[in-house]
Symmetry: D2
Subunit: 132 residues, 4 copies
Amino acid sequence: MGKFKKLIIKSDIMDDDKYFKNLTDRERAIFEGGISMGSLFHQFVGTPVNVDTCASLEKAIEESILLQPAIVEVHVSLDKDMIKNASGSAGYTSLDGNMLNIELTTKINENTIVTCISYNEELDYPLMYIKE
Amino acid sequence: MGKFKKLIIKSDIMDDDKYFKNLTDRERAIFEGGISMGSLFHQFVGTPVNVDTCASLEKAIEESILLQPAIVEVHVSLDKDMIKNASGSAGYTSLDGNMLNIELTTKINENTIVTCISYNEELDYPLMYIKE
Amino acid sequence: MGKFKKLIIKSDIMDDDKYFKNLTDRERAIFEGGISMGSLFHQFVGTPVNVDTCASLEKAIEESILLQPAIVEVHVSLDKDMIKNASGSAGYTSLDGNMLNIELTTKINENTIVTCISYNEELDYPLMYIKE
Amino acid sequence: MGKFKKLIIKSDIMDDDKYFKNLTDRERAIFEGGISMGSLFHQFVGTPVNVDTCASLEKAIEESILLQPAIVEVHVSLDKDMIKNASGSAGYTSLDGNMLNIELTTKINENTIVTCISYNEELDYPLMYIKE
């Protein structure tokens, strides 16, 4: 699992601050976490993948999502067992939402939120949620 | 601009309620609004489009996003002027984020949130925000 | 299953004809069929869908793919049984490549090619092929 | 610009050979080149990118497309000048089709085809074509 951090460039945040006066810092961190999780899901699901290409895909997802507003940290770990099992006669599969294990951290001023996605057995689908 | 509404099926919401105990109803409505806005942006940007196909694409976006958790209303209006201007010798263009004018309403119990995307001239990019 | 046809606008084809002098008309029709089939697969896989929204999604896929070069006819039929079975507690699923039954017709001068995708049981994946 | 090669695993190709008896080796190499070019365009357009993340995105595109049938070589070079110019106040942009410079090689038995995409100034859109 790769790990990337970035410094928040204050001037970026300031530019659009006035558009979020109706949200608390915590609410905006939750909003940005939701946006980025929905974004990466629908951007990358469908990508051809097998166990040998997980590393480059994980890194590309991490670096691209780190660019989005308020994101300060991203961890992506694709489920290698699921990917191996799904790779049949063609030697690869299409990335499926169930294969995603991702944590991304958004920060607005002093408020930090960790947004997650992982396959939930009880619900039988990939659940997006906020970590305690 | 099409308009679709759906009834919230209470049992759906209840199923995953326990995973969101760390959020207020308002926070969860904001979270789901962010997820769905990020989702549709990255699902549909890139779709071949011209002025004659806007109606069917708007309807498909609306109906698909209405399926997502907590969404009770979706309005999609693609910018026909931008699409016309971008459709050059090929007679069509790829859907660009700047062309999106969308409002989606999420509801958790009594809390309703309207999440929007539209092109912001000052920032020169499509801004996602919460409507007052 | 919807059905859309369009007239080829000769001037469009002519514009880029010179870039395809190294291909026969049949080869170019095959090339354009492959491009459009790969395009729609990776554009639309991942879209939230259930049996009630199939019709609008099928129509949007058909109309958008008809815009692409050399396409003269498109038929899209999503597999309602698969979609129903995959729609669990959330009431919908993400469109999967296995759910696609599509035929698209490309025409270059007098040469017509029908490109297909459908789930192949023997290979256990959605096969793209040229119809006899 | 990265560069990856792979050995064709004969048994993979053989599995689905019987489905392509109506195509010559050259025609099938053209078909697979078209599919993969259409696929990567619609899979990756829309990804958040700036000049610092080009390398990881280029590598992920190359490795994922190399998995597809008949592909033996892929070169991806994103247009850094366009990406820099498009990265405004937000510090990044969405990957646009005009930014793609890609060559991919498909091989069926002794027949090799190089499929390309690059921005064409005359047509003012990204042209997909077969290299002499």
